[in-house]
C-alpha cells in the first residue's frame, strides 16, 4: 500500500509538465481543446487515485484491527475497557443526565465513586452517539458491537486526519504516505484494536484533530479554524487525561515561535482563540473543572497567554514609538516586569494553595525515577515503566530510522507548520522514552515526520528518473519550460550512474516499506490482538486450547452470589468484576484512593486471622485471587504479590517487604519466608 501510493502520486504530480511538451496537432484550436480535456483528465485522475488510495487506507486501517474479533470473538479486552463498557451501557440505558449524576456504589466499597465527576466522558458519549445514530437508522446493533468497533473506526478516521495534516505541513504526497503509515503502525494499533475500548482509541484522533486544526489556524490566521481547534481541544479534554500534553505543547510551540521571531498576527489569533475558548469549554468537563486556572500543569499555557498579550502590546508600542533606543529600554522594562509579576503571581498562588502542585504522574514524566521512589502504585503498572529500546523497534520499526531523516527535511524547509511537527515529534519521543504507554502519543508525529522523509525521498528519486526521459526533449530545445530545469544541467553530466542509483534506491525504499507492512501485520496479529481475558494456546496435538477461566469465575460470581455480595480482589480485577460479575468490589483500576488499596494489600499480606479482621471491617463476602501455577499463566497474583506488599507497606509500616523475602530473593516454593507462607495469599 505504502509502496504503491507513492510513485503513483509522484507521477500524478509531475504529469502536467510533460503534457504541454507534446503538442502533436498542428491545428491550434483542436490542439488547445485536446490539451484542455487531457489536462482535466489528469487532474481528475489524480483526484480519483488520491480518493481511492485514501478509501483503501481507511478500510485497511479498520480491517487490520479486526484480528482479535476473527480469532476470538467480538469482546471487550483488558481491564479499563470493561469499566468504559459498563459506563457506556449505563449511559445508553439510563440517558445522559442519569449518567452524569451517577453515584456508583458497586466500586470502592464502602466509599463508592461518583462516576460522572471522575471520568472523561468523551469515549462513552461518542459510543453512545454512534449507537443512537445506528439505532435511528434502524440498524439493530448491540451496544457491545459498537464499543468493540469504536477504536478501529476512530483509527480509520485518524488516517484521514493524518492525510490532511501531512498535506498541511508538507504536501499531498506526504499526507498519503502518512495516512498509510499510521494506518498500520503497531504503536497505534496496540491501543486501537477492535475490543480495546479505551480512552486512547478516540483520544489520538482528538489529539491529531486539535493539532491539525491549530496548525491550520496558525497557517491561515483564520478565526474559524481557531474556533474549530478549540472544539477539537474540548473533545480531547473530554476523552483523555493526555490533553495535558496539548495544553503544554501548544504554549511551548508558541514560545518557540516567539523566540525565533516568527511572531505574527496569525499566531496571535490562533492561540488566543484556541486557549480562551478551549479553556472555557474544558471547564465544562467535571473531572477537569477549574484545573486550567488552578493546577500547576496548566500554568504554562496561561503564562504564554499573558506573554502573548505583552508581545502584542510591545508590537503596538513599537509601531507607535519610532525611536528604537527608547523602545529597547521599554522592552527590557516591560519584559522584566511582566516576568516578575508572573513569577510573583505563581509563587503566591502556589504558596496559598490556590494553584495545586504537579501531580505524581506529571512528576514521573519529567523525572523517570520519581515514581519508583515515591509512588509505588504508579510504578506497579507495567505500562508506566520506562520504555525499552526493543519496544521502540517493535512499535516503529523503520519509522525509527525515517524519523531523523524526516526531521532533516523539516529543518530544510522550515515553516510554522514544520516547526510544530518537529516540536511535537521531539517532545513526544522524549515522553515515549519515559513511559511505555506514551509511545502512543508519539506515533502520529513519528508517522508524519517519517512520511515526509519517505515522500520527499521518493519524489526526488522519481524526479531523477523522469529527468532522464526529459533529457532528449530538452536537447531538442524546449527545455526551459519545466520548473526543474535548474537542476537539469547537473543531471545531464552523470546520467547513467544517477539513474541506476535512483532505481536502486527506489527498490530499497520499496523493500523497506514492504518489510514495514509485513512487520506491522505480524506484530498486530501476534502481539496486540489478544484480549488478555481469554487465553489461547496450542495444545499437544496442535489444536487450539482456550483458557476461559476469568470469565468462568466472573460469571459464577454473577449468577451464584447474592446481588449485594462484596468481592475483594487486587485492584487489577476490579473493573472486570463489576462489569462482568456485576458485584461490588473493594478497589478497582481507578486507583484514586491509595490508602484503600493499601488496606487490601495489607489484608492480602497479613496472617490469616489479622486478614480476617480487616476483611470483616470491609464487609467482604468473597475474595478473588488468581493462581496460574497449574496452567503456567505468569501474570497471576503470586507474581503481583510483592507489589501488594510494597503498596500496603507504603501506608501501613506493619507490612515490611523484607519479611517476604529470603535472602533478598522472592521465592514462592517451600523455601519461602514464613510470613509469606502464612499470609492470606
Amino acid at each position: 500500500m505504502v509502496g504503491k501510493s507513492e510513485p503513483i502520486n509522484g507521477t500524478a504530480k509531475s504529469q502536467p509538465p510533460p503534457s504541454p511538451l507534446s503538442p502533436k496537432s498542428p491545428d491550434l484550436l483542436s490542439g488547445y481543446f485536446s490539451f484542455k480535456s487531457l489536462k482535466l483528465k489528469t487532474k481528475q485522475q489524480e483526484l480519483l487515485i488520491r480518493v481511492s488510495i485514501l478509501c483503501l487506507v481507511y478500510i485497511l486501517a479498520f480491517v487490520t484491527r479486526l484480528f482479535s474479533v476473527l480469532r476470538y470473538e467480538s469482546m471487550i479486552h483488558e481491564f479499563d475497557p470493561y469499566f468504559n463498557y459498563r459506563t457506556t451501557l449505563f449511559l445508553t440505558e439510563k440517558g445522559f443526565y442519569e449518567f452524569w449524576n451517577w453515584f456508583d456504589s458497586e466500586s470502592w466499597y464502602p466509599l463508592g465513586r461518583i462516576i460522572g465527576g471522575t471520568l472523561y466522558p468523551g469515549l462513552m458519549v461518542t459510543a453512545a452517539l454512534l449507537y443512537w445514530g445506528l439505532r435511528f437508522l434502524r440498524f439493530a446493533v448491540h451496544i457491545r458491537e459498537v464499543c468493540v468497533l469504536t477504536a478501529p473506526f476512530f483509527a480509520s478516521n485518524t488516517t484521514i486526519l493524518a492525510y490532511f495534516f501531512g498535506k498541511e505541513i508538507w504536501d499531498t504526497g506526504a499526507g498519503l504516505v502518512a495516512a498509510a503509515l499510521i494506518a498500520i503502525c503497531p504503536g497505534y494499533i496496540s491501543r486501537s484494536v477492535a475490543g480495546s475500548y479505551d480512552n486512547e482509541g478516540v483520544a489520538i484522533f482528538a489529539l491529531l484533530l486539535t493539532f491539525y486544526l491549530f496548525v491550520k489556524a496558525v497557517n491561515t490566521g483564520s478565526l474559524s479554524w481557531g474556533l474549530a481547534s478549540a472544539f477539537g481541544y474540548f473533545y480531547m479534554v473530554s476523552a483523555w487525561g493526555g490533553y495535558v500534553f496539548i495544553i503544554n505543547l501548544v504554549p511551548l510551540y508558541v514560545l518557540v515561535l516567539l523566540i525565533t521571531g516568527r511572531y505574527s498576527m496569525r499566531l496571535y489569533v490562533a492561540y488566543n482563540c484556541m486557549y480562551i475558548l478551549g479553556m472555557l469549554l474544558a471547564m465544562q468537563i467535571r473531572f477537569v473543572g477549574f484545573q486550567h486556572v488552578q493546577s500547576g500543569e496548566h500554568m504554562a499555557a496561561m503564562g504564554v497567554f499573558f506573554l502573548m498579550q505583552v508581545f502584542y502590546l510591545l508590537d503596538w508600542l513599537k509601531h507607535l514609538l519610532s525611536d528604537t533606543k527608547l523602545f529597547q529600554a521599554f522592552l527590557r522594562m516591560t519584559v522584566t516586569s511582566a516576568v516578575g509579576v508572573g513569577a510573583v503571581a505563581l509563587g503566591v498562588g502556589t504558596a496559598s494553595g490556590y494553584i495545586s502542585p504537579w501531580t505524581g504522574r506529571f512528576y514521573s514524566l519529567l523525572d523517570p525515577t520519581y515514581a519508583k521512589d515515591h509512588i509505588p502504585i504508579i510504578a506497579s503498572v507495567s505500562e508506566h515503566q520506562p520504555t525499552a529500546w526493543s519496544s521502540f523497534m517493535f512499535d516503529f520499526q523503520i519509522l525509527l530510522f525515517l524519523f531523523p531523516a524526516g526531521l532533516y527535511f523539516c529543518f530544510k524547509r522550515l515553516s510554522d507548520a514544520t516547526i510544530f511537527i518537529v516540536m511535537y515529534g521531539l517532545t513526544s519521543m522524549y515522553f515515549a522514552g519515559v513511559m511505555v504507554r506514551l509511545i502512543l502519543v508519539a506515533t502520529p508525529a513519528v508517522c508524519l515526520i517519517s512520511a515526509i522523509a519517505v515522500s520527499a525521498t521518493i519524489k526526488n528519486l522519481t524526479l531523477l528518473l523522469r529527468a532522464k526521459t526529459k533529457a532528449p526533449q530538452s536537447a531538442s530545445g524546449k527545455g526551459g519550460s519545466s520548473g526543474k530545469a535548474a537542476s537539469k544541467g547537473s543531471l545531464d553530466q552523470s546520467q547513467p550512474f544517477q539513474k541506476n542509483g535512483a532505481i536502486a534506491l527506489l527498490f530499497g525504499a520499496f523493500y523497506l516499506l514492504s518489510k514495514y507492512v509485513t512487520h506491522c501485520t505480524w506484530v498486530t496479529s501476534e502481539a496486540y490482538s489478544s484480549p488478555s481475558i481469554v487465553l489461547a494456546a496450542r495444545g499437544a496435538h496442535g489444536n487450539r486450547v482456550i483458557f476461559d477461566d476469568y470469565r468462568e469465575a466472573y460469571f459464577w460470581l454473577r449468577q451464584n452470589t447474592p446481588p449485594d455480595a462484596k468481592v475483594m480482589s487486587w485492584w487489577d480485577y476490579g473493573y472486570q468484576i463489576t462489569a462482568m460479575g456485576n458485584r461490588t468490589v473493594i478497589v478497582d483500576n481507578n486507583t484514586w484512593n491509595n490508602t484503600h488499596i493499601a488496606t487490601v494489600g495489607r489484608a492480602m499480606s497479613s496472617y490469616e486471622d489479622e486478614a480476617y479482621e480487616i476483611m470483616r471491617s470491609l464487609d467482604v463476602d468473597y475474595v478473588l485471587v488468581v493462581f496460574g501455577g497449574v496452567t503456567g499463566y505468569s501474570s497471576d497474583d503470586i507474581n503481583k504479590f510483592l507489589w501488594m506488599v510494597r503498596i500496603g507497606g507504603g501506608v501501613f509500616p506493619v507490612i515490611k517487604e523484607p519479611d517476604y523475602l529470603v535472602n533478598g530473593e522472592y521465592r514462592v516454593d517451600k523455601g519461602a519466608a514464613p510470613k509469606m507462607l502464612n499470609c492470606l495469599m
Partner: protein
C-alpha cells in the same frame, strides 16, 4: 387481527361449559377391575404409566372416566395423556383420548379430577382398558437439602401406595423404578417387595374409592436436575430463505444445594467420584441442516460446545462455563439458523404457515416457563396460531434491521413444559412478497442519493469569492 385467537378461546370455553353441564354418571356405577401403575424415578422428570381396566356396572352408559390426583401432585402435573387400546394383541391400535380438568362439588380433601372422554360411551356391563401417561415435575425433594462435593444426592419421593381414584378398585399393583439399587428407606405397606431397582407395592384387593396410603421412598438419584427456569425462544422468519432462532436460557440445578467449597482440582482429577450430582454438559437436539450455531452469554462467547450434524437431527453438546452444582445457576443464549423451506409452507388458502416444534431442545429438562416468540416478516397480516395444547397467546411488535413499521410477533406462553411437549405447532399469516423488496430498495436509494450528492458537490462551486 386477534379474532381467530379469540374465536378459538370462545369455542374451547363453550366446550368446557358443555362438559360441565353433561350429567355425569355416578361414580359408584363404574369400577376398576384391574389397575397397574409403573412409576419411573430414573430422572427428575417422573413418568407414571397407569393401565386401568374399567367396567361399567351401572345401568346407563358412561361417557367419561375420572382420574383423581392429590392437590400436591396436580400442581406438578405437566402432561396427562390417555389412550384406549382396541383390537387384539398383535394388531393393537391406540387411539388418543381427550383429557380435561373437571371440578366435582364433593371432592374429599381437595382432590382434583381430570376426566377422560371416551370415544364411544361405555355401555352397561362393558369393560375397556385405558392407558394413561402422566408426567410430574419438581416432585423429588432432595434430602439432605445440602450436600458437599463428594456426596451423592438423595431424594424423597412422596406418593400413595394405593391409587387415588373415585372408583372402587378391585385389584391394583404399583411398581416404582429407582435409578440405582441404593434405596435408603421406603415405607412398607404390606405386601411390599423390593428387588434390584424395582419396588413393588401390592397387589392390593378391593379398596374403596378415595383410599389413600402415603408412602415415602428415600432413594439416590444423581441424574442432572436440569431445570430451565425461563426459556424464551425467538423464531424470526425471513423470506429471503432463513429462519433465525434465538433461545435464551435461565438454567438452574434444582437438586440438593451445594455445601462448602468447590475444588476444581478434585473435580477434574476424579470425575467419577466427585460432584456426581452436578452436570457439566447438556445435549440439545436441533433440527437437521442447522447452520451458524452460536452459544454465548452476557459476557461473551462460551468456547466449550460441540456440534454434530446429522441427516435426521443435529446434536449440540453445550457445556456451561462452570459445572453446575445444586442451586447454582447459569444463563446463556443459543442461536442458530435453519433453511426456510423445511419449516415454512403455503396452505391451500394462500396463507403461509410456519410449522415448528414447541418445547425445549435440551434433552431431559423441565422448563418452568416457556415463551415462544414467532417474529413474522414486516408487512405480514392476520397471524393466528394453532397449538395442540392450551397456551397463553398475545401479539407484540419488534423492530429489527431497517424496519419501519415493525414486525408482528406472536407470543405463546406455557408453564411447566417437559420434553413430551416437543410437538409441532403452526402459525398462519398472510404475506405479500413485494415487502421483501422494501429493504433492498431502501438501501439502494440511499446509496444512489449519496453518490448523486457527491457528484453534485464536486460540480458545484460553493465559494463566495469569485
Amino acid at each position: 387481527m386477534a379474532i381467530p385467537l379469540r374465536l378459538r378461546a370462545a369455542v374451547s370455553i363453550s366446550i368446557f361449559a358443555l362438559l360441565l353441564i353433561l350429567p355425569s354418571c355416578s361414580a359408584q356405577d363404574i369400577q376398576v377391575v384391574n389397575a397397574e401403575r409403573r412409576i419411573d424415578l430414573t430422572s427428575h422428570i417422573i413418568k407414571v404409566f397407569l393401565t386401568l381396566k374399567v367396567e361399567n356396572t351401572g345401568a346407563s352408559p358412561a361417557s367419561e372416566i375420572l382420574l383423581a390426583f392429590p392437590p400436591t401432585q396436580v400442581d406438578h402435573l405437566a402432561v396427562v395423556k390417555a389412550q384406549v387400546a382396541t383390537g387384539k394383541r398383535k394388531k393393537k391400535t391406540y387411539t388418543p383420548l381427550d383429557v380435561n380438568p373437571k371440578e366435582l362439588p364433593d371432592a374429599p380433601n381437595g382432590t382434583k379430577y381430570l376426566s377422560i372422554s371416551l370415544l364411544n360411551p361405555l355401555a352397561a356391563g362393558e369393560a375397556v382398558t385405558l392407558e394413561v401417561l402422566y408426567i410430574l415435575t419438581h416432585s423429588l425433594e432432595p434430602f439432605p437439602v445440602e450436600i458437599s462435593q463428594s456426596e451423592s444426592q438423595l431424594v424423597y419421593y412422596h406418593d400413595s401406595a394405593l391409587i387415588l381414584s373415585p372408583y372402587h378398585i378391585k385389584q391394583q399393583i404399583t411398581f416404582i423404578k429407582t435409578p440405582t439399587t441404593k434405596v435408603e428407606s421406603f415405607t412398607v405397606v404390606d405386601p411390599t417387595h423390593r428387588a434390584g431397582t424395582e419396588l413393588k407395592y401390592g397387589p392390593y384387593n378391593d379398596r374403596p374409592p378415595h383410599s389413600y396410603s402415603p408412602v415415602i421412598v428415600h432413594l439416590e438419584n444423581n441424574s442432572p436436575f436440569a431445570v430451565v427456569e425461563e426459556l424464551v425462544r425467538e423464531v424470526e422468519i425471513s423470506h429471503w430463505g432463513s429462519l433465525q432462532i434465538t433461545e435464551q436460557y435461565k438454567l438452574a440445578h434444582a437438586g440438593a444445594r451445594h455445601k462448602g467449597v468447590f475444588s476444581r482440582v478434585e473435580y477434574q482429577s476424579r470425575p467419577g467420584h466427585s460432584g456426581v450430582s452436578s452436570f457439566r454438559h447438556l445435549l440439545a437436539r436441533l433440527p437437521p441442516r442447522v447452520h451458524s450455531v452460536y452459544y454465548r452469554d452476557e459476557i461473551g462467547n462460551i468456547s466449550s460446545s460441540r456440534l454434530r450434524l446429522g441427516a435426521l437431527k443435529s446434536e449440540l453438546e453445550i457445556e456451561p462455563r462452570y459445572p453446575l452444582f445444586g442451586g447454582w445457576k447459569a444463563t446463556f443464549v443459543i442461536g442458530y439458523g435453519l433453511p426456510l423451506e423445511d419449516f415454512l409452507f403455503e396452505s391451500p388458502d394462500g396463507r403461509r404457515y410456519l410449522n415448528f416444534s414447541y418445547g425445549c431442545p435440551l434433552v431431559e429438562t423441565v422448563v418452568d416457563k416457556l415463551t415462544i416468540k414467532v417474529v413474522l416478516p414486516e408487512g405480514s397480516k392476520e397471524p393466528s396460531a394453532v397449538v395442540p395444547f392450551p397456551v397463553n397467546q398475545y401479539l407484540e411488535k419488534k423492530y429489527s434491521y431497517l424496519d419501519i413499521v415493525g414486525r408482528t410477533v406472536v407470543v405463546l406462553e406455557k408453564n411447566n413444559v417437559v420434553p413430551e411437549h416437543n410437538i409441532p405447532f403452526q402459525v398462519y399469516y398472510h404475506f405479500n412478497p413485494i415487502f421483501m423488496l422494501a429493504e433492498p430498495l431502501m438501501l439502494t436509494s440511499v446509496f444512489f442519493l449519496l453518490f448523486v450528492t457527491c457528484v453534485a458537490y464536486l460540480h458545484i462551486d460553493l465559494s463566495l469569492r469569485k
